[in-house]
Structure formats: structure tokens, C-alpha cells
């Protein structure tokens, strides 16, 4: 296993500036940026954070996070809509649907986790990819829950109101949830649960001989990550007002993996940084005539360049720039800072 340690390389000052910009964003950016780009960045970042959490702290690169996010979205859609041709049309109030959608997603996440937690590396990746494909086909074919056309007209709770008229409200909700998710994941990492997970990442055999239940722990970590992904899924349902199986297709699954890798698979902040880069390219590349049809080629090239330049993504690049700056400030110091970033940083923990 690799010698990576998920660290925050954002210093307090930078973090404070970023949070201040995020809070003031509706004053700085236009409605399109707030309602479309930044809100999308925030919930996509939450889903990517659930993937990065499993990868950085648990050594599990999961391709099921988008499926779980979709399950939460479909649950919200089925519970709250009324009058659609497809779906259950239960017509619940939006607030009552949230805990149920989260519970359904966590339950399925625990089931997926129990099925996959004995596998590691490429086998874990393949099993979670299978979950993702199953979820996609399931919602396409089971028309009583969705069908390929999906579910439209998903209402947001009253305090958010109409997302088109009040984009700020959903933006701020997404911002608060993103900050809470980030803080929660950072906190969990230092609790017995989180430290045990990191021990399992580094050496499951040793953990087992120390008296830990490795399979149970992996299963619960997967269930916890599905809770995080579900938060992103609920936000997506409100943001888009519509969900269909293409939302959780193979393309979307790969997109979130790309977001996580661009940002940096070993650092939580990377989730939102990767999401921002992805959303911006996704949005603006479509407008360039030559590129618009070749969006995935472009994102592929960007992905390749970032991975080749910095295997731990943009956050890794940021960390190295910080090292260089510090070294520049102390020219007399021998450049020994490199030793801490162990050899394992060069390879993603797959």
C-alpha cells in the first residue's frame, strides 16, 4: 500500500479567502455563474469528496458513488412528484422526503459495501462499476420508478423556492452542506473510526491481527460515503428538477472519477477544485465551435496533462508550489522537503 497521508495543503489564510469569496459570490458573479456553474461545482464536489474520502482514507476507489447519488435523486423524485407518467408519484412534501431518500441510499450503500468490501484494488473497482451499471439499467427498465425518460418537475423545499427565480438560495444551501461535509470528513479522519480506516488502507492484515474487523469497517465506511454522495444527489434533484438514468450513466460515473483525479485523489479539497475545473471546461468548451462536439476529447487531454504533470492532481501541484515557495524563502536550506511525500504518492491507490 502507499505511503500517502491525506493532508490539507491549504493554509488557513487561503482557505479563509476562498470561503469569503464563496460567501460573497452572489455579489461578485452573475446569476448564470451562481445558479448554473458554482452550484453545480458544489454538489459535484460533494459526490467527488465521497469518492476521495474512500480512496484517500480507505484505499478504496469506488465507481459506485454516482449510482448512489442517483439513487438519492431518484428517491427524491419518486417521493415528491405528482402527475408524472412514470415513477411512483407519491407527492410527499419535499422536507419529509429528504430523510427517507438518505436512508434508502445509506441502506443500499451498506448492501453494496457488504458485497464489495472483501475485494481490493482492481476487483473492488470492477465490482463498484458493476453497481453503477446495474443502477443505470435498473432505473431505465423499471418504469414504475423511472424509465428512460426519467422524472420531471421535482419540487424543491419551500425555503429554496423556485430555483430559477432564486438561484442564491440553493447555492447557499449547497455551500453550507459542502462546508459541513468537508468539516465532517476532516473530523472523522481523526476519530477512532477514521484512524482505523486509515490503518486498514495501509495494512489490512496487520489491522486484522491487532483485533479489528476489517470487512465490517470497510462496509461501514462505504455506507458512510454513500450518505455523503446522497447529499449531493438530493441537491442535484433540486437543482435540475429532473432526473433520468443518463444522469448516472457510465459517462457520469467517469466524469466524477475525472473530477476527483483532476483535483487530487488524496486530498479532500481536490473534490471541489476538480469540480470547478470540470464545470468550467464543460460549460465553456461547448461554446467553442471546434471543440463543442469534442468535449470529452478536451477533458481527456486536460486529464492526461494534469495526471502526467502531477499524479496527485491540482492539489498536489498546489502543495509542490508551496514547497518551492518555502524553499525560495530559505535559500540556505537544503531541499529535503521532498522526502515526506513518499514514493506512494506517485501511484493512485487502486
Amino acid at each position: 500500500m502507499s505511503a500517502r497521508r491525506p493532508t490539507a495543503s491549504l493554509d488557513r489564510g487561503t482557505a479563509a479567502v476562498l470561503v469569503a469569496i464563496a460567501i460573497l459570490a452572489p455579489l461578485i458573479f452573475n446569476t448564470y455563474w451562481i445558479g448554473t456553474l458554482l452550484t453545480q461545482m458544489l454538489f459535484l464536489g460533494i459526490v467527488a469528496a465521497s469518492l476521495i474520502f474512500l480512496s484517500a482514507y480507505g484505499g478504496m476507489v469506488s465507481l459506485a458513488q454516482v449510482a448512489l447519488y442517483g439513487i438519492a435523486g431518484f428517491a427524491i423524485g419518486n417521493l415528491t412528484t405528482n402527475g408524472n407518467t412514470k415513477g411512483l408519484n407519491l407527492g410527499w412534501t419535499p422536507l419529509a422526503a429528504i430523510p427517507v431518500a438518505l436512508a434508502i441510499t445509506i441502506g443500499l450503500g451498506l448492501l453494496f459495501g457488504a458485497l464489495s468490501s472483501r475485494s481490493v484494488g482492481i476487483y473492488f473497482l470492477m465490482i463498484t462499476l458493476t453497481f453503477s451499471v446495474i443502477a443505470n439499467l435498473f432505473f431505465g427498465q423499471v418504469t414504475s420508478l423511472s424509465g428512460f425518460g426519467g422524472i420531471s418537475g421535482i419540487p424543491a423545499p419551500g425555503f429554496i423556492g423556485n430555483v430559477d427565480h432564486h438561484p442564491d438560495r440553493l447555492y447557499y444551501l449547497a455551500l453550507v452542506l459542502a462546508l459541513l461535509v468537508y468539516a465532517l470528513l476532516r473530523y472523522i479522519a481523526r476519530t477512532p473510526f477514521g484512524l482505523t480506516l486509515q490503518g486498514i488502507r495501509d495494512d489490512p492484515v496487520r489491522m486484522s491481527s491487532l483485533g479489528y474487523n476489517v470487512t465490517l469497517h470497510r462496509t461501514l465506511a462505504f455506507g458512510f460515503a454513500s450518505f455523503i454522495a446522497a447529499i449531493g444527489g438530493v441537491l442535484f434533484a433540486y437543482w435540475n428538477g429532473h432526473i433520468d438514468p443518463a444522469t448516472i450513466g457510465l459517462g457520469a460515473t467517469i466524469d466524477v472519477l475525472v473530477v476527483a483525479v483532476i483535483g487530487g485523489l488524496s486530498r479532500l479539497e481536490g473534490a471541489w477544485l476538480g469540480a470547478l475545473v470540470f464545470v468550467l471546461i464543460n460549460n465553456y468548451a461547448q461554446r467553442i465551435g471546434f471543440v463543442s462536439d469534442r468535449f470529452h476529447t478536451l477533458i481527456g487531454v486536460v486529464f492526461l496533462v494534469i495526471v502526467l504533470l502531477s499524479p496527485d492532481g491540482l492539489m498536489g501541484l498546489w502543495g509542490r508550489l508551496g514547497d518551492l515557495r518555502r524553499r525560495g524563502e530559505r535559500p540556505g536550506q537544503a531541499p529535503t522537503g521532498g522526502s515526506e511525500r513518499g514514493s506512494g504518492e506517485l501511484e493512485p491507490t487502486v
Binding site: 473510526f193 482505523t196 489491522m207 491487532l210
Partner: protein
């Protein structure tokens, strides 16, 4: 040299009868009987491939035995997994360090201490964690790593990682410690330091030690078991082992006229 601390006639803490481990067509360990008394310092010697580490894996429960019985503190532990044996008082180190390279020294020892306690799944911190961390720092200090508590284990030297291995095995307050080549890959100075560390261990802890370095093994041990091709071939005090012709033939590379051929 350590005096023999074994009380004659005391019930053995570890008792193996006819223990074997088969991998496909290969008998890595076969028909091993072993009695280790409380407080004993036992060294297991033997050339590469003699089955020493496999024997450790079978005793610690990292892999099941395919034959024989293993009794620890009078209880048959053959069907008990590694974690259960650890809870009953077995601690072990690994030939190739099995540490959590992405965590600090203190976090490594924290996990080692927490392992035998409850609360592995607790998603919040409590004051009890402070006590565990205190104990972790104590353990680090006991192996000379007091200044290194915050160091990332993956960035430490090999010698420091071996010291940490010993501390990890001690964390569960074991009655029996299995040390698999604790001095492997160490420089001469580091070997001496590690030997001193082993000699300073609480005499009530029973030690079983696999060691290639005869100086380390014979200085620490008061009884030696020699293995070859998965079998126990000689057992005795360090002096008896030093004087044994077969040991010279097999282990020290000497040629002894009339010694039997390698069991092919």
C-alpha cells in the same frame, strides 16, 4: 547472557503438538512439537525456507494450521482467528515491517493499543482517546522513539521502523511476543541497540524470536530451537546449540563428516 527464567515443571504458555502447514504439495511446516514456558526467551533458528515464519503465522493465527494442535495458556486456539489470539495475549512483529506508513508513529501505536479495546467504530473523539494516546507515547518512548511521535512512519529509517515494530507488538500488553527477525536489515549499531531493547523487556513476557543473526539470537535467548525443511531438528541451550555439529553443518555452513544428507 540472560539467565534461564523458566520454572522447571511450570505449565507451558504455548504448547504445539504435531503442527503442520501444507501449501499444495509443499509441507512448509510439518510435525512440530514445541513447549515454551512462561518467561522463556526462545530463539528459532534455521536456514531460509526452514519454515520459521510459517510456524509464526500458524501460531499467531495469520494462517490456519493444516495439522496438529496449538494450545495457548492452556486453551486450544487452533480455531481462533488472529484477532482473538491477540486479545488473549499474543503480540507479534513481522519480518517485513507491517506498519501503517501513511500515519504517524503515535497514530500507529494508538491503533495498536485500541485494537484490543472496544470502540473501533466510534465516529467521535472522547477523553478516553487521550489516555490511549498517552499510552502510545509511552510505548514510543520505551523503544527510543519519544522524539518521533509525529513523524510519518513512511518517511522514517528502516531501523526506526523495526523499533516501532517491537513497540506495536508490546502495545496489547502481550504475555507472549513473537518477534520475526527484528534485527533484519539493521546496521551493526542498530542491532546492538535493538538487542539491548529486547533484553530490557519485562521478564514476565515470554519471547519467541526468529533471528538470522546468531549474536542477537544467542544473546537474547535462553533456549534455542533449530528448524530445517519444516521440521524441528535440534533443541537446547545456546551452548548446546553452539556445540552441535548438525547446526554447524546446516546453519553456519561448516562441513561435518558423517552428517546426514539434506532431507530432499
Amino acid at each position: 547472557m540472560t539467565e534461564n527464567a523458566v520454572t522447571p515443571g511450570a505449565a507451558p504458555i504455548l504448547r504445539l503438538r504435531g503442527v503442520g502447514r501444507r501449501f499444495g504439495g509443499l509441507d512448509a511446516v510439518s510435525d512440530v512439537d514445541l513447549d515454551v514456558g512462561p518467561g522463556e526467551r526462545r530463539a528459532i533458528l534455521g536456514p531460509n525456507g526452514a519454515g520459521k515464519t510459517t510456524l509464526f503465522n500458524v501460531i499467531s493465527g495469520d494462517m490456519p494450521a493444516t495439522a496438529g494442535t496449538i494450545e495457548f495458556l492452556g486453551e486450544d486456539v487452533g480455531q481462533i482467528p488472529a484477532s482473538g489470539r491477540s486479545k488473549r495475549g499474543m503480540g507479534r512483529t513481522y519480518q517485513k515491517s507491517r506498519l501503517f506508513l501513511g500515519l504517524s508513529v503515535e497514530d500507529n501505536l494508538y491503533l495498536a493499543v485500541l485494537g484490543n479495546q472496544t470502540g473501533h467504530l466510534r465516529p467521535f473523539r472522547r477523553s478516553r482517546d487521550g489516555d490511549i494516546r498517552e499510552r502510545a507515547r509511552e510505548l514510543a518512548g520505551a523503544v527510543g522513539l519519544q522524539g518521533k511521535c509525529d513523524a510519518l512512519v513512511g518517511s522514517m529509517s528502516h531501523g526506526e521502523q523495526r523499533q516501532l515494530e517491537v513497540a506495536m507488538a508490546r502495545a496489547g500488553d502481550p504475555k507472549l511476543m513473537l518477534l520475526d527477525e527484528p534485527a533484519s536489515g539493521l546496521s551493526r549499531g542498530e542491532r546492538v541497540a535493538l538487542t539491548d531493547l529486547l533484553l530490557e523487556l519485562d521478564p514476565s513476557i515470554t519471547l519467541i524470536l526468529i533471528e538470522h543473526d546468531m549474536d542477537v539470537a544467542l544473546r537474547v535467548a535462553n533456549r534455542v530451537t533449530m528448524m530445517h525443511d519444516g521440521r524441528k531438528i535440534v533443541e537446547g541451550t545456546p551452548d548446546e546449540i553452539r556445540a552441535n555439529d548438525l547446526v554447524h553443518e546446516l546453519y553456519l555452513g561448516g562441513r561435518v563428516a558423517g552428517a546426514e544428507e539434506d532431507g530432499a
